[in-house]
Symmetry: C2
Subunit: 217 residues, 2 copies
């Protein structure tokens, strides 16, 4: 039995460690989940005890195969619930994260299977992130941040890296949504801003925004 807290740590290690494979530092985990490093050390020991993580003192943690599967299962639940909230309950994409953080810990295999079916087996959540299947497999659509796209090229906005409320609200305000076709018109070296063109308008975005928008390639 994996506790709620353990699930959150597994998720953090997975996200920080390049799918859980690379070793992650204690401090990085502490910062991500907003706790103290000493609490992280305690929990890491417990995860290692349960063979969910590999841990060598002073050298960071990585996930075992079992830990990785558990992490992916939690992420699967999180993304399915977000999809439910947006597609069925008409939440806006910036409102769903906190609620999904709670729902992802509900324990029932059958519930998730049925939810998956109810939603018609979605492959991506409302932020464009891939939803792992029952076995933990998923396919990431090939994409590049606008930061790394040549002027003159275009693509479909398929995901956003930053899923914070502030950023999603910015996108809503500026009528940018997943699925939009975006063309990169110009790059201004002075302030690293980009000019982009959508069906409806042309606008300038900061470097900060550009690096968080991923276009299909």
């Amino acid at each position: 039995m994996v506790t709620l807290s353990e699930e959150n740590y597994l998720k953090a290690i997975y996200h920080l460690g390049n799918q859980g494979g690379d070793a992650v530092s204690t401090n990085a985990i502490a910062e991500l989940i907003d706790t103290k490093a000493s609490s992280v050390t305690d929990m890491i020991k417990k995860l290692a005890e349960k063979e969910l993580a590999n841990y060598i003192k002073y050298q960071g943690v990585s996930l075992t195969e079992s830990g990785r599967l558990t992490a992916k299962s939690v992420i699967r639940k999180h993304r399915l619930w977000e999809t439910f909230l947006v597609n069925k309950l008409n939440f806006s994409w910036h409102e769903v994260h906190e609620i999904a953080e709670q729902l992802e810990h509900i324990k029932s295999e059958k519930l998730i299977d049925k939810l998956d079916d109810f939603l018609d087996y979605p492959t991506h959540d409302p932020h464009g992130d891939p939803i792992p299947d029952k076995l933990g497999n998923y396919t990431k659509i090939k994409s590049k941040s606008i930061l790394n796209i040549n002027t003159g090229s275009q693509g479909v906005l398929i995901s956003v890296k930053d899923s914070s409320k502030a950023f999603l609200k910015y996108l809503n305000k500026n009528e940018l949504a997943l699925g939009d076709t975006i063309k990169v018109i110009d790059f201004e070296p002075f302030d690293d801003s980009f000019t982009i063109e959508t069906k409806s308008k042309t606008m300038t975005i900061s470097k900060n925004v550009a690096e968080n928008l991923y276009l299909s390639i």
Copy 2:
């Protein structure tokens, strides 16, 4: 902020104490939620501290208005989620209780409002129990246990008192469902059994079953 555990105690007191109004004994709570009496005493003190319950040593607990509202809000969530699981995810009514026990503690007012809307403002859950509205109000359909219905009378099965898996499975096996019209044909004093008639068949039920079936009157 009310914790998950506190919510469970409030629910227990509400159910045991005639809508939370009557004083409830420590032992009764302990038995219902499967803990020790000493744990109950501890928690009751905390609830009284938070002005969710009225407590006088050795004389049981009752809920304050605030405690009662919180209890009803948890019950509302529980029953809405059960309705969701059965009506939207196609769960059978005997499978949903444990899952709803978890879902009822998810904290988001907006989520419940939207769920309520998505389900078309149901007034009763899959077991026939009334769903309180946002303000805690609900209307109980007038009903009587088959135990107290005269031979020859009939009514619609509107709720079941026992919601245990075993009992619900028994009803499934015998094709008895909410909404069925049932006529009480005969009572056998020797073993307190009843003969009942539905559209499709005539059958005999034990006293134990009869007291758990409620017909509209």
